[in-house]
C-alpha cells in the first residue's frame, strides 16, 4: 500500500463448500434434534404448568343486572340523551370479556338491530370488545351515533345493530338483549348475540 493507514491485508479464506451452519447434514440433523428436544420439553413443561383451561367467555345470562364498575345497578332514567356507560354483570364486575357499553341513542334503532333487546325505545347495549382485533371500542361519536375503535379506526353504526360502516372490521359488535326487572333496573335477557372479541380464523 502506498500510505500506511495502519491497515493490513491478508488473503481471503479458502472457499467454503457449505453455507454453514445449515449445510453439514450431521450438523443440521443434530441442530434439528436439539431444537425439537428443547421445544418439546418446553412445550410439555408449559402444558403441565399452565395447562389448557376452559375458554373464558362472557358472564352474561338472563336476569343479570347491568352494573357500573362500582357495582351500582342502572335505571333507564340514569342515562341522558347521547350518553354511554360501561357496565358489567353484577357478579362479574371488571371482567374484560363481559364489558358492555350501554348507550342512550338519539334516534330509535332500526334493523338489523335485534329490536326486542332494546328497552325504553333508545337504550341499547353492545359488547365493548371490537370484532376486528379485540381492542376496546372505547369512543362513541354522538353526531352519527357511531362506535369508534381507537386501535384501528373500525367504526360501527350503533343505530343499525353495530354493523361496521368503515375501517377494518367485518363483523358487527355482539348485542346484549336488554329488559327491565320488577324494581325498574336494566337487566340482560340473555347472553351476548355472539362471543365477545375478535372473530377467529376458523369459520
Amino acid at each position: 500500500m502506498s500510505r500506511d493507514l495502519g491497515e493490513r491485508t491478508i488473503p481471503r479464506p479458502d472457499p467454503v463448500d457449505e453455507f454453514a451452519p445449515f449445510t453439514s447434514r450431521r450438523g443440521l440433523f443434530g441442530g434439528l434434534l436439539a431444537v425439537s428436544a428443547v421445544l418439546g420439553l418446553g412445550g410439555i413443561g408449559a402444558l403441565l404448568r399452565f395447562g389448557p383451561r376452559a375458554p373464558a367467555g362472557s358472564a352474561w345470562s338472563a336476569g343479570a343486572r347491568l352494573a357500573t364498575l362500582d357495582g351500582e345497578p342502572i335505571r333507564p332514567a340514569d342515562l341522558p340523551l347521547g350518553s354511554v356507560v360501561t357496565v358489567w354483570p353484577e357478579d362479574a364486575l371488571g371482567r374484560e370479556l363481559s364489558a358492555v357499553m350501554l348507550i342512550r341513542l338519539r334516534e330509535v334503532p332500526v334493523e338489523p338491530t335485534r329490536l326486542d333487546g332494546v328497552v325504553d325505545e333508545t337504550l341499547i347495549a353492545y359488547s365493548r370488545l371490537c370484532s376486528h382485533a379485540g381492542c376496546a371500542v372505547a369512543l362513541y361519536r354522538d353526531r352519527d351515533q357511531a362506535l369508534f375503535c381507537p386501535c384501528h379506526q373500525a367504526t360501527f353504526d350503533a343505530r343499525r345493530g353495530a354493523r361496521p360502516v368503515s375501517g377494518p372490521a367485518s363483523h358487527p359488535l355482539p348485542q346484549l338483549p336488554l329488559g327491565i326487572d320488577d324494581e325498574g333496573f336494566v337487566i340482560a335477557t340473555g347472553d351476548l348475540t355472539a362471543p365477545p372479541g375478535a372473530v377467529g380464523g376458523t369459520a
Binding site: F19, T23, L129
Partner: protein, 459 residues
Amino acid sequence: MSVLPSPLARVAEKLDARIGRGAERPSLWPIGFGALISHAAIVAFGVLTVTGLALALAYRPSTELVTYSGSSELYDGQLLPHAFASIVRISEDLPGGLLLRRVHVAASHIFLIALVAHLLRVLATGAFRRPRIGNHLVGVILLGIALGFAYTGELMPFSLVAASSLRILEAVIGSVPFIGEPLAQFITGGELPSQRLLVGAWALHVFLLPGGFTAVLAWHLWLVHRRTPALDRRPDVDVDTRDVGRPLWPDAVARFALLSAGLITLLLASSVLVPWANIELEGPFFAAEATNSVHPAWVMFFTTGALRVIPAIDLVFLGVRITNVLVAAALIPSILVGMVVAYPFLERRLLKDRSEHHALDHPLDVPLRAGVVTFMTTVGVILTVAAGVDVLSSWLAVPVERVVTGFRVALVVLPIALTAGAVAASRRRVATFADLGEDGDVDREITASGHTYGEECDS
C-alpha cells in the same frame, strides 16, 4: 505493537492472538461507516443490558392491585397493578430511576434502528451471498429476537398500551385457521388482566430473550470472523480476494471506545431533553379501556399500519375464515420476513451465481436485487407510516376514512412505481458500465466510479 503498554493493550493483544491465527492470519477489524452501524447495535445492546439489569431489580411482574404511595402526584394513593406501580416508583421515587428508564428506552430505539439499517445494507449490497448466506439467516433470527424484545418490553409497565397490545396479539394468533384459537387461548389464558401472561412476558424479556440474543449474537460474530467481513470495493486492494482491516489494538479498540462514548453521550443527552417513556401519559391497565393515539413500539408499526389500511375482509370457505387481521398482521409480515429469508436463495438461482463474493455491490448493481429491496422497503415504509393515520388525520384536519383511502391507493401504486423505477435505474447503470468495461463483466471489474480494479497490492 502497542505504543503505550497498558493492561488494556495486553488484554487486547491476548485476544488478538487468540482470535487471529498468528502472523499469517492476524485478526483484522473492518473500518468504515458500514461497520459502524452494526457496532452501534452492539453498543446499544450493552447499554440495554446494563440499564435493564438495574431496572429489573426494582420491577415487580405482577398484575395484583396495590395502593401506590409516593411522590407521583398523579398516582399517589391510587390502586394500580403492581407492575405499573413499580414503574411509577422507579420513575418518581428512586434516585436516577427515570434516567435509567429513559436511557433504556432511547437505547432500544438506537438498537432497533441499527438492526434495521444493518439488514437493509446487507440486502442492498449483496452481503448475503456465499459464503455468508448462513450468517444472513442467523442475522434474521437476531432480528426476530429483537422484535420479541420490543413487544415484551412494551408489556412490562402493564399500561393501557400493554392491554391493547395483548388483545391484538391474541386476535392475530386467533386469526390463523384451526390452530390459532386454541393457541391464543393457551397463551393469553382468555381474559385480561392475566398474571401468568405478564410473568411469561417478563421471563422472556428479562431472561430468555437476552440469553438467546447473546448466544446467537456470539454465533453471528464468530461466523463474521470465520468468513471475514464483506467490504466495500476500493481502488488499492481487490477486496474480493483479500481482506483488509486494522489491528484490534489500538485501532479497533479506540474506534469502539469512541463510538460507545459518543452513543452513550447521545443517549444521556436525549434522555434529558426528550421525555421518553413518560408513564404519566399512558396510564395503568384498565379492563376494557383504550384511548386515541396509543401506539405500539415503532418497529411494530408496519403491522399496525396494515391492520388499519387493509380493508375489511370476510371470506369463508372449507371451514376457514380469512379476515383483515389474518391478511394484515399474519400474512403480510410473514411475506416480508419470508422475502428477507428467501431472497438470497432466489437470487443465486435466478442469476445462476453460486460463486463466493467478498466485495459489496452498489445497491443498483443488480436489477433484480434493486427491485426486490425497493419493493420490500416501500411496502414496509408505507405500512409503518400508515400506523399514524389517526395522527395524520388530526394534523391535516381530514377525516380518517379519507386518509386510509389515500394509504390504500399508495400501497397499490407506490411499490410498483418505485420498483419499476429502481429496476430501470439499475438497468441503465449496468448498461453504462457494460459499455465502459472491456469485457462487460460489471460485477467483478467495475465499481461505482467506473474504474477497473484488480491490481495486486503489496501488503
